[in-house]
Symmetry: C2
Subunit: 399 residues, 2 copies
């Protein structure tokens, strides 16, 4: 009877991963490490591409570049050239980087693609990019540390209003399953192009909450991450429509349908989880389109949430949309004000294209004596800011 020998292990390798290895380490004679974070927090990126003429890297750690388009000039992530060695390995060393979660892609002879040596990738709408973390400071909140961890579940709930079962991401805090306690709930909404995956992947919600709870900075809470696209039962690839290319805006995204049916989500959560089902223990927050949704959900149900967070929020509905949800914005805001709340938090970056819209909205709130807390950061309409906003918002909840 045969025993497994090392040669069998080599065979394992050959058969299970031959296409991956063929391209690089085993046959290329290269053992590529990319990205390599140096002790001083500079980062070396490497790519084995002996036939390429030029290899560039583009990422949000490089100085932005102005990009001219038919709609005007915009900031785009910068680019840098890699240099090729005699073995066909291209490399680039970044400046010393500050703590942050960064993303990047390679551009090989004009073709933008992922780093084959870095399997850590996130999808944003239809595009996939590599990520890495420079630890320290606020970026330590994005790491998995050796602390108690909550559970992240992908569940399906029935939405009678939308007439379908829908997928939802739910974070329950460490100890939830073994506890008899009831918990407060944060409803956390994604932006256009996102879905029930976005906050958990791009936003690192579970890591941020685990860390803040372990540090005693945030109260243990449930975080509910629904899908804000009412025509979808689930994220692309996760629903009954199968695999299709995600779009930035889908139909019926900001027409009132989501807000009008939001109680289906609250009812599901409050009948399936041990929650404190009252205003003092409900928060709603979201980024961009999710900030829009949070604004309108919180005033349309004006006695439901004690905590509201608008992160780089799109503010007001398209003037072509006629929905009862948007019929009496001023009146419902006034009701929300009169009913009272603990925190109305508005955060935006100083180069965000929605900066002026948020300034106008704050003026409107000022004029009606509607209290809010304002937080302005550097930067634009980017996930880097939304992770920071989540990290700052959640410690203020349910106190």
């Amino acid at each position: 009877m045969k025993l497994i020998k090392n040669s069998i292990l080599i065979l394992f390798i050959m058969t299970t991963t031959i296409s991956a290895f063929a391209q690089q380490a085993l046959f290329g004679g290269q053992d590529i490490k990319s990205p390599e974070i140096k002790a001083d927090n500079s980062v070396v990126f490497r790519l084995f591409a002996p036939n390429a003429d030029t290899v560039q890297i583009t990422g949000d750690f490089l100085p932005t570049e102005k990009m001219k388009t038919q709609w005007g000039e915009f900031d785009a992530p910068g680019k840098a050239l890699l240099k090729k060695d005699e073995k066909g390995v291209w490399s680039f060393t970044s400046a010393v980087l500050k703590p942050e979660l960064y993303s990047y892609s390679f551009i090989i002879d004009g073709f933008t693609t992922t780093d084959p040596n870095n399997p850590f990738i996130v999808r944003d709408v239809a595009s996939v990019t590599n990520i890495f973390i420079i630890g320290g400071g606020h970026a330590d909140l994005y790491k998995v540390n050796d602390i108690p961890h909550g559970t992240v579940a992908k569940r399906w709930y029935d939405s009678p209003g939308l007439g379908m079962d829908r997928r939802i991401t739910i974070y329950t805090p460490p100890g939830y399953e073994k506890s008899n306690e009831k918990y407060p709930v944060l409803y956390l909404l994604h932006g256009a192009g996102g879905d029930e995956e976005a906050w958990a992947t791009l936003g690192r919600t579970a890591q941020i909450l685990d860390n803040l709870i372990a540090q005693g900075k945030a109260k243990p809470m449930i975080v509910v991450m629904p899908n804000g696209n009412v025509i979808q039962d689930a994220a692309p690839g996760e629903g009954h429509e199968g695999f299709y290319k995600p779009q930035f805006m889908v139909a019926k995204t900001m027409d009132g349908t989501y807000e009008a049916n939001f109680m289906d989500i609250i009812k599901f959560v409050e009948s399936n989880y041990r929650v404190k089902a009252d205003k003092a223990n409900r928060a709603v927050a979201g980024l961009s389109m999710g900030g829009f949704h949070s604004l309108h959900i919180s005033r349309y149900y004006p006695n439901t949430f004690d905590y509201v967070g608008l992160f780089s929020a799109a503010i007001l509905p398209n003037q072509n949309v006629s929905s009862p949800v948007y019929a009496d914005i001023d009146g419902t805001l006034k009701k929300q004000k009169d009913n009272g709340y603990k925190l109305y938090w508005i955060a935006i970056g100083n180069t965000d294209f929605l900066y002026q819209a948020n300034t106008d909205f704050r003026k409107k709130l000022d004029d009606m004596g509607f209290k809010y807390t304002y937080r302005e950061t550097d930067g634009g309409h980017i996930w880097r800011n939304w992770r920071i906003y989540l990290s700052e918002f959640t410690p203020m909840l349910f106190k």
Copy 2:
């Protein structure tokens, strides 16, 4: 006060996804669809790469090619050339494909990479490939259909034996949360290079179970997918070691440590879920290294599982390993036989490099009168077979 107009929506697009769009649709003047599944189940693959000299596709739907290496000759996924049009778009149309979940990569001037127009990707060890599904037949089990869905949770459990909190994937069937019933449990183990993500992503376990349960073919059951690498608390990138390049074999993988501490997992499941905690309602199965683990766990705890599945199993321990787990293989197999069980299922592909080892093992079982059911398929040591084995094994459980 400003209303949001279409121009704002364009700005959204510009700022949130500029790096993705820059490469292709908006500025390249191309709206690429890839892959496109035609009505006859041929598939068109497209890539916009005007500067490339050659573009190939490699995938498991192409005829295999012989690959010579220093260790011998192996079957590798085949390749095909794409053809470039005047706009710089390369394309290739496959043959009419049979129902299956397929994976592929592009090779651009010798550089293997993903399809930037297909965000549906899976990681296998350190490599990332695109996937698509040709529906029909058994492949319909891999699709998300419009039926009740179970929940997939990523949780952490305490393993006193390994001295750490560890991440685990748990599928609970549709209705679990609202039911008072107790459920049977399948422990489903991954292969070398895998982790607690593998069965859920590459194996499409939730889709297969949802579909089989909806069709009345499998009993509602809980499926527990642990991490079989005892030095890891979680999959690469999901644990406290942060992001690092996954390896095919990690330390202490097949040295008895996992089997010796497997009761930590069973205890966690049986004290945290509504389960039928008896032999008749426990199954253990796994692929490759996970088949090895299933073989040894089921005989080391010889009165624990009524159902055992060895999928392309690595059979016997390395002769250099000395663990009490492997000290009395024949004796514990005999005990397992004498104690009785309902199903011992051995499945393997006829070109698997472990075929002979499985034949030898079956001979050993025959010689000792140890009953098993044998299933031989075409093909080798590949996920395609393991999805089929899971689809065939689960309907036989807990009947």
